[in-house]
Amino acid sequence: MATEQSDSGQDGRSIRRRWEPRIERLRRGWDRYTEHKIGVVGLIILIIYALWSIAPGVFAPHSPDWVAYLGEPPIKSRLTGEQIRSLPHPPAFGDPFFAPFGTNSLGNGVLTLVIYSAQNAMYIGLAAGMLSSLVGVPLGLISGFYGDTWIDEAIQRFVDIMYGLPFLPFLIVLVAIRGITTTNIIIGIAVTSWLNNCITVRGETLSLKERSYVESAKVAGASDTRIIFRHIMPNVLPISFVFLAQDAAGAVIAQASLAYLGLADFTANSWGLMLENIKSTGYVFKAWWWLIPPGIALMLMAASFYFIGFSMEDVTNPQR
């Protein structure tokens, strides 16, 4: 019927009217993001890493199981004695089989390993960062919003206890019980990293809830949930972004440190594991081409998280 048609026409219009400002806001946000070169650089680095994680095979010259002179598995041939004597022994830089950045002591390509390890680092960084935000931010919000009540008291005392938890022994015990897997390491990192999140968000919430727009929402009859999620949370997002980025960077580095200590999933490729291998095979001062790429990859990933966090803080912060 005619009326129906006009109704649906109206619906279409109203949907457009409703979404237009939001799209416009996103566009403005993007403009603001790109104002900071550092944020763009961070984003580009992270996109490269993301592509590496999604399709490492496209970017890496070989598969991670490739061995210098012998090629891709399944390896059928063996080197002749003549070859062993004449060719450079792994680890070597720039060997004749084209492994950019050289090979490690097992003959695997260093660049290949660096690229294949990005997946693991991305996973750990994002998962640990998100996990600690998902725990820390809501708990901080609740703790701050119900400041000075038993709820706040309980959460804060729990945080205090967690602060007393020694990180390394805890992690060693955890993996000893549950096994050395990437997931367990993420859990181990997140268990300690949400604390700072929670405390900062709580402090911010305590000051935000005294703002008169929060009182104004109460007068309008808003429920606690609405006040927390509509009026307070959007205003703590800027610092949450910074913390998310920091936690992600911290997790990547923590995982590498743990791997260096031998606490890593040895079935997965990771930069930390590469570094551990250099140490355990005793090539730290001999094979710079093996040592430096995973270090730089690690550093760039941590830096890109920080850069993005910095820019996002600015985009989500209206007071400028």
């Binding site: 009182e215 309008a220 429920s223 509509r230 205003n235």
Partner: protein
């Protein structure tokens, strides 16, 4: 003539009290101190009638904002009741509270703080509608928001709907805040200093808008302000608060033209005026507002009051009693010490009395000697003190000189008493208004001599 006979009040406040911060610190607990809450509002009763603009005035810390926030249920009263349209708002069912939220709104002081910086004007104004499920369809809601924005002078509304608060000027922000309050079509709005953060040239526009909207939306306002000229401009009735108490309330013009409570009088005298030529009378009040954590006993205002009531058997002048009483307060606070006077004086005790009897008031209320010495000394012969009081004062001064402040205090405590410090005055009807002052108690005007001003306005029988 009496409003109460014609109509039921919209809001009835009875014996309202709000204490803050009753939790004790660790140190206090260890030392076994009693908790000392801030007595923000202490025993306020007030009726607000439909269609009135009621002003609440007072200095900072007098409890006016706390009172306003209790009326919109932002704070729960410690004691007392608030009835809105016959229903007690301190004890409501969830359903009744929802209904209440649609009928009562508040406009806040600082438009730079009262709008969420992350919400557009549309989101801000539409929020009360969404929360209260008042208009279902997005389009109708948008139309309603547009209508209200145009009502508050933000037209064409399309320009403003998607703007964020930081794109608006102070005046526009406050109009958005008003629109947000109006969008649910409320009956009663509490306005907490709605224009104090705005520039002078913009204020009048917002005030006039509020007046226009009052008739258009059939509103009742509670208008909180420290600015008495605004209260005069806006309000039909006014209440003056001091340290959590309502000291005087009644029709605004009556209160301003003929203030009865000594505090009201001082407050209005203190307001500077643009009128030329006339030499304004300054406020006759000593000292500053004491802490609401530990307010004075009896009438909260008595330590500063120009009309403090001497005891029945006082033979000197009222001014002399006020000075003697100030002497007592100074000794009690430890403001008077042997160093207060030059050691070269022959009769140190007498010099101390002369120093202690000075009043910390504007020059026009001082004696000649006080003016000449910059308020440091008063000539004893100019103060009409009874001889035995004079002896007591000298005794106390000697005790101070001997370093025995406790003895000085107890000597004075016994000799100088006033009903103002003993009993808290109840609000008494006096003509068109209620005044909480012992001078307007029945027979309370006895024994008032020499106080001059204000006496002619003695309690009217009703």
């Amino acid at each position: 003539m009496d409003r109460a006979e014609d109509r039921e009040p919209l809001v009835e406040i009875d014996g309202l009290q709000k204490l803050f911060d009753q939790s004790q610190g660790v140190v206090d607990t260890i030392l076994g101190r009693d908790p000392q809450p801030v007595r923000a509002v202490d025993g306020v009763s007030l009726d607000i009638y439909q269609g009135d603009i009621v002003g609440i005035a007072g200095e900072s810390g007098c409890g006016k904002t706390t009172l306003g926030k209790m009326l919109v249920k932002l704070h729960d009263p410690t004691e007392g009741s608030i009835r809105f349209d016959g229903e007690d708002i301190t004890d409501m069912t969830r359903e009744a509270e929802r209904e209440f939220r649609k009928r009562v709104q508040m406009i806040f002081q600082d438009p730079f703080e009262s709008l969420n910086p992350r919400m557009t004007v549309y989101d801000t104004v539409a929020e009360p509608l969404k929360i209260n499920d008042m208009i279902e369809s997005y389009d109708e809601r948008r139309d309603r928001v547009t209508e209200v924005l145009e009502d508050v002078g933000l037209g064409p509304a399309e320009v403003y709907l998607d703007a964020f608060p930081d794109e608006l000027s102070g005046g526009e922000r406050q109009r958005v805040a008003i629109a947000r309050a109006l969008v649910v079509d409320p009956d009663f709005i509490v306005c907490d200093e709605p224009v104090s953060m705005l520039d002078v040239s913009i204020r009048a526009g917002v005030l006039n808008l509020m007046k226009e909207l009052q008739s258009e939306y059939d509103l009742t306002y509670l208008f909180i302000s420290h600015d008495l000229s605004l209260i005069r401009y806006m309000c039909d009735r006014a209440g003056i608060m001091y340290l959590g108490n309502m000291v005087e309330q009644g029709p605004t013009d009556d209160i301003i033209d003929d203030p009865k409570h000594p505090y009201t009088e001082a407050l209005f005298d203190a307001v500077p005026d643009v009128e030329l030529g006339e030499e304004r009378r300054r406020a006759n009040a000593t000292g500053e507002v004491p802490s609401p954590r530990n307010p004075p006993s009896g009438c909260r205002y008595h330590p500063r009051c120009a009309h403090i009531i001497p005891p029945d058997d006082w033979t000197g002048s009222q001014d002399a009693f006020r000075r003697a009483y100030q002497f007592k307060l100074k000794v009690r606070r430890g403001d008077i010490s042997p160093e207060s006077v030059d050691s070269g004086d022959i009769e140190t005790a007498e010099a101390l009395v002369e120093h202690g009897l000075t009043l910390d008031v504007p020059e026009e209320y001082r004696t000649e000697t006080e003016v000449a010495t910059g308020g440091h000394r008063v000539d004893l012969s100019a103060v009409d003190l009874p001889t035995d009081t004079r002896r007591v004062l000298t005794e106390a001064a000697e005790a101070v000189l001997a370093g025995d402040a406790d003895r000085a205090v107890s000597t004075l405590d016994d000799a100088l008493t006033t009903s103002c410090a003993e009993r808290q005055p109840e609000p008494q009807p006096s003509g068109t208004r209620e005044v909480a002052c012992h001078r307007y108690d029945d027979g309370g005007a006895d024994g008032l001599d020499g106080s001059g001003a204000g006496l002619s306005a003695a309690p009217a029988e009703d």
